[in-house]
Amino acid sequence: MAEHAPAPVKPPFWNDPQIRAILFQAIALVVTVAFGLYVFDNTQANLRRLGIASGFGFLSSPSGFDIIQSLIPYSPTSSYGRVFWVALLNTLLVSALGIVLATALGFVIGIARLSKNWLISRLALAYIETFRNIPLLLQIFFWYFAVLRVMPAPGQSLDLGKIVFPKLGLEEIAFLNIRGLYLPAPEFQTGFGWVLAAFGIAVALTVLLARWARRRQKATGQQFPLFSVSLALLLGLPLLTFWLAGSPLAWQVPKLQGFNFQGGLVVIPEMASLLLALTLYTATFIAEIVRAGIQAVSHGQTEASLSLGLSSSLTLRLIILPQALRVIIPPLTNQYLNLTKNSSLAAAIGYPDLVSAFAGTVLNQTGQAIECIAITMAVYLTISLLISLMMNWYNRRVALVER
């Protein structure tokens, strides 16, 4: 009993966790740095051999090629740097439109999936399972090569107003042909600025109203019909101004002149097929996210809210949606990110986005592979990091405060 346990033997130093950790990290760092140096060395040798001068000087030399869609003034004499901005704006344009459309469709399908109507929920399921399991690139190709590329020439354009909404007096305003989708373009005349100003004032008033209503409810418990009043304000004020200013908006309708349409808004087939495929594909994922989010709110919440005497619309707005959104928003942001990255598939059909115009055409013309790819990747990385920073901020804001 009195025997002491022998003093613990100190393990040999190679079994000491602390020393091991330092050793492993040192090895990892050395291997990484050595690999980096090796790659750098090879690259230098290869560039010397190929006679490529590295650097970003090429960005200021003239490009010499035209781009089929550009949001800012551009001509073949513009610089490669200008190409970058044109391409970036094209990427952002198709991503932003895709996000809006996919969100709208996704929410509709997600709610349809939960519908008590058997037929509706089955149709939604069929849509989701079909479009989710087909590669996006295949869908883009289908819309581009099998649908839009076989459209008739401008002379035999399809009159969309006549086909989709017959007998509504919408003939001869929107056309579809092999050159793209022709839509009427809004023309803002003098006085439209007033309408915009009125809208701005309405937004400001709504914010103030919301603050006042919240303060009043906290003080007195009285509720204010904020939603309907602000909706009336946001729609009514600009409409009233629009009418007072003498309807300062005209529609420029595309007209067939010679071999092509003149005027109006043109959506090139590349953009149309990309947008259509991105929307239909991403909407399936958003629909599943929405469904999961709403199902994640337990039924007890609805029952408790109804037993407190809240109406079913208030239950949805105050009880279910805030809790469902907490589940929905993070994966939803992820899908937005995916959509933005997937828009790079534009390269396969020649929509002039960042990958197609900059990492493709510019790279091929200048041979500056490292610079072009690095810039392109940096842009996508920046977008990803910005969006994930925003998501983290939102997550912290809505996270459940647990005991």
């Binding site: 990290q25 090879n42 040798a45 008590k116 996006l136 690139l137 990255k341 392109t376 990385l381």
Partner: protein, 368 residues
């Protein structure tokens, strides 16, 4: 003497709440809104389904050898029939295609016991690991040739569904271990290793796959010593694996984070070292938790194989696209894309259904 009270037999439920009528009332016509929605959906189906069925089946042409056979106005499945071998094997030489079939048959035979309930799990694990390590070499030897009297078939001749399956198979078997290692690294307490893993993962997750493939085709040759060159297929494989490995790492990390701390402590109390703790205690539980995520990544990988078209490999997608631009067969792109879509769909849908099955089968805990 006591009067026995026999309850009256219960009445049958009202006829309108049972049977077909009841089902219809409950599921299709329960409220005015639902009636409108049902009618709208029926109208939608009525407008779209009959022409679709007519195009795909009733008016379709099935027999024949050239486009002259396709005059019925419906789908021209002759186009698929004529190109079927090409869609499956790509430019693999005619006389050697049995090697592809043999490789596929070998995999099916070898993997079949894994899907049988009767086989013991110990044997399954051994067989699975053996297949995982051994099969790629056997398949490569069979497909590439150059040994045991088989003529060499260069990888540039591989194509069609074969190439798609090769890329997907290699990508999956390589991305999962890579993902596990990266996830372990990210959860590690060593700051240098953690930073390296986080940087690696976030870099690949932040860029589109297409730029990765661009990079592997235009930048990788610059990174290698002068005179050394990689096969185009290998470059694509490296790009796909690194990319999906990063996604896999995040999936596995989710599983690792869900394992309670007590499991680590219990393993440490039993005297298990790091690798034994992870391999025997933590990873089996963590991986089981994230099966849906892993399969989702696999499905994404399978769909992403179509992107190798960008760097000029002839996978199923590209070979179908190529056939639709053949001047002798112009105008049948719809049939081609529909066929390719069906093949991809079968694989992806099959994987998702299998994962749901597996999840149910492996669910040993409490079901909510």
């Amino acid at each position: 003497m006591a009067e026995s009270r026999v309850p009256h037999a219960s009445l049958p439920p009202p006829a309108s709440t049972i049977g077909v009528v009841g089902w219809l009332r409950r599921n299709l016509f329960s409220s005015p809104l639902n009636i409108v929605l049902t009618l709208l959906a029926v109208y939608l189906l009525f407008v779209t389904l009959p022409p679709l069925l007519r195009w795909a089946f009733l008016d379709a042409s099935w027999r024949g050898d050239d486009r002259e056979a396709c005059r019925s106005g419906g789908a021209c499945w002759v186009f698929i029939r004529v190109h079927f071998e090409q869609f499956m094997y790509g430019f693999y030489p005619d006389g050697q295609r049995w090697r592809v079939n043999a490789a596929v048959l070998l995999l099916i035979l070898g993997a079949a016991p894994l899907f049988m309930r009767a086989v013991s799990s110990k044997f399954k694990i051994r067989l699975g690991l053996g297949l995982l390590i051994g099969y790629p070499f056997v398949a490569f030897a069979l497909l590439k040739g150059g040994m045991i009297g088989l003529p060499v078939v260069d990888t540039s001749q591989w194509g069609g569904l074969l190439l798609t399956l090769v890329i997907a198979g290699v990508g999956m078997t390589a991305a999962l271990p890579l993902g596990v290692l990266l996830a372990l690294g990210r959860r590690s307490r060593m700051p240098a290793i953690q930073t390296l893993c986080v940087t690696f993962i976030e870099f690949w997750r932040g860029v589109p796959l297409i730029t990765v493939l661009f990079m592997s085709s235009v930048m990788l040759p610059l990174f290698l010593p002068v005179g050394m060159n990689f096969d185009k297929l290998l470059r694509a494989l490296i790009g796909v694996t690194l990319f999906q490995g990063a996604y896999m790492a995040e999936v596995v990390r989710g599983g690792l984070q869900a394992i309670p701390k007590g499991q680590f402590e219990a393993a440490a109390a039993l005297g298990l070292g790091y690798w034994k703790t992870m391999g025997l205690i933590v990873l089996p539980q963590a991986l089981k938790l994230v099966i849906p995520g892993i399969v989702n990544t696999f499905i994404a990988l399978f769909k992403d194989t179509s992107l190798v078209l960008i760097i000029g490999l002839f996978d199923l997608m590209n070979i179908v696209h190529n056939a639709t631009t053949n001047p002798a067969w112009l105008g049948f792109s719809t049939e081609g894309y529909v066929f390719a879509a069906l093949v991809y769909w079968l694989f992806c849908f099959g994987m998702s259904r299998y994962s749901q099955n597996l999840e149910k089968h492996l669910h040993t805990g409490h079901k909510r």
